[in-house]
Symmetry: C2
């Protein structure tokens, strides 16, 4: 039978799934650690080889990776966590090795595609997806087209100045949304407030995780609650600007930090309404959470592979 | 012969041009004041009627207007200066009256199209156009498609928070790029500095025009120079964020304020380099000025009309 492979490369794990020509139920799914005794590229190759079944014929492989990816030319410019991957022509390398077409995309772009085809964004034509997790990434679909830009680097929604000369971002710039509202940014704010003498159930943890903060917030801890609301306000203000820039009809919020639920979403909605330039942008606008969780990326690369290399 | 009409509605003048099926030399061109004894809509209708020649057959009419325009449905949500135009279904009205298809667009979007088809952006696939004038507007083309978004309101590049809680913008929000770097914003800064006691050749003018400031800057006036450089720095920082959001291969700067030339452009380039998250965005990126001047909008609506309603 004919199949597609979808591969999600993360900083901790690499996942591979075999999908039929139609449908989104994987036939086989495997996960390995990204790092081990051999190089990441060798581990990836081995994973693909191990996935092969004699009765399956692979039409194409879709792969996503974090960080800036030139999806048009199939090059990974750099990859957080995988330091040796700089200007890596992954598409060419894999196509040579496996003689199968490869579709490559940035992980947040692919999650946006996944949510659009199969999740919260189904049926919408103009979609902004923002993932709020260790970093903040995004993907944008306008008029049913994934925005790529010249090198496939469009939609870097975490790297947008929200507070000029604000806290240091992972990219080296100051005051980006990611530096103010990602999981680590929320944790740093909590830690700084505790150092400054504020009371919190989190005061025993040296640097609490975003998950711990979410739990504490739901349990009524005031500092935890405020730290998430503060992130929500920044995210909402950034979304207001994204409305002016992209004019979507749906904004989908994914990533671990959104598990804080309404504590995060309510200040986001309030800030969007406060900072939007005209109510016209809010008519028929839906702001909602992602539906596919960790599978959004896998389903996104599956869609990309099917679209770029249809079964004929 | 078959022709297209292109109409540019501005706050001061309305211009109409008759174009042949191919080529960008207008056959006839007429300009009237936007306001007069009759309503703007009646003046527009009369202008179209007056343009008609017996030997010409109009295939379609392209129209642009400032302010938020729903180009998909042909509605002008609102129009700075023309206060009675609120949710005006201009496309329907004109199509009924003239039995000719109408293509409608926002003026900055149309100027972007014009520069892309016929000006500085010719041959590029991923273009950001920013016009810096009384207001700041924009238009974006990615993968050879004009970005519209859900209601055709994408690319409002002047309405993007650059200084949180900064100066009041024309839209009612605070600290938008338009409120910091448009012609009036530059003039206000100069006036405030003069009030605070700074010396300048402009100190006799109560509120100097952006043009006067440009002239004074070229003549060596330090305050005038600094006020333009300050605007350039804000524009450059915004462009850096736009690179992350759109990843263009060309940024085209139009509008009257760009006539300050290198005094504005140099700080823009410096700020873009300083604030971009990765040099990858700068590879093969061109930052340049518009080529079509006031005709960009007319040529843009011409392109839109030809594209939407080709001569068959």
């Amino acid at each position: 039978m004919k199949v597609y492979y979808a591969i999600d490369i993360g900083g901790t794990n690499i996942r591979i799934a075999t999908f039929p020509v139609d449908g989104i139920q994987p036939l086989h799914l495997k996960k390995i650690s990204t790092f081990g005794k051999t190089s990441v590229i060798n581990r990836l190759s081995q994973l693909i080889m191990d996935q092969k079944r004699d009765d399956e014929d692979v039409i194409a492989i879709g792969i996503d990776a974090p960080g800036p990816v030139d999806s048009k030319n199939g090059i990974i410019f750099s990859c957080p966590n995988i330091r040796e991957w700089v200007n890596l022509p992954l598409k060419n390398l894999m196509e040579k090795q496996f003689s199968v077409p490869i579709a490559l995309g940035n992980d947040a772009n692919m999650a946006a595609l996944g949510e659009w085809y199969f999740g919260a964004g189904k049926g919408f034509h103009d979609l902004v997806y923002i993932t709020i997790s260790t970093g903040i990434g995004g993907g944008v679909i306008l008029d049913d087209q994934l925005l790529l830009g010249s090198k496939g680097l469009a939609g870097e929604l975490g790297h947008f100045t929200v507070v000029p000369d604000g806290p240091l971002c992972s990219c080296g710039q100051l005051g980006h949304l990611e530096a103010l509202a990602s999981g680590p940014a929320i944790a740093k704010y909590v830690a700084a407030q505790i150092s400054a003498g504020r009371a919190s159930v989190l005061s025993n943890a040296s640097l609490p995780s975003a998950k711990d903060i979410g739990i504490a917030a739901h349990a009524g801890d005031e500092l935890a609650r405020e730290s998430i609301q503060r992130a929500g306000k920044y995210i909402g203000r950034a979304i207001a600007d994204y409305l002016h820039v992209y004019n979507p009809s749906i904004v989908i919020l994914g990533g671990g930090v959104t598990q804080s639920g309404e504590i995060l979403l309510e200040p986001i909605r309030v800030a969007v309404e406060k900072y939007v330039m005209s109510p016209v942008y809010l008519e028929d606008l839906l702001i909602t959470t992602a539906q596919l969780g960790d599978n959004a990326g896998l389903l996104g690369v599956l869609s990309l592979a099917r679209k770029n290399f249809p079964d004929r």
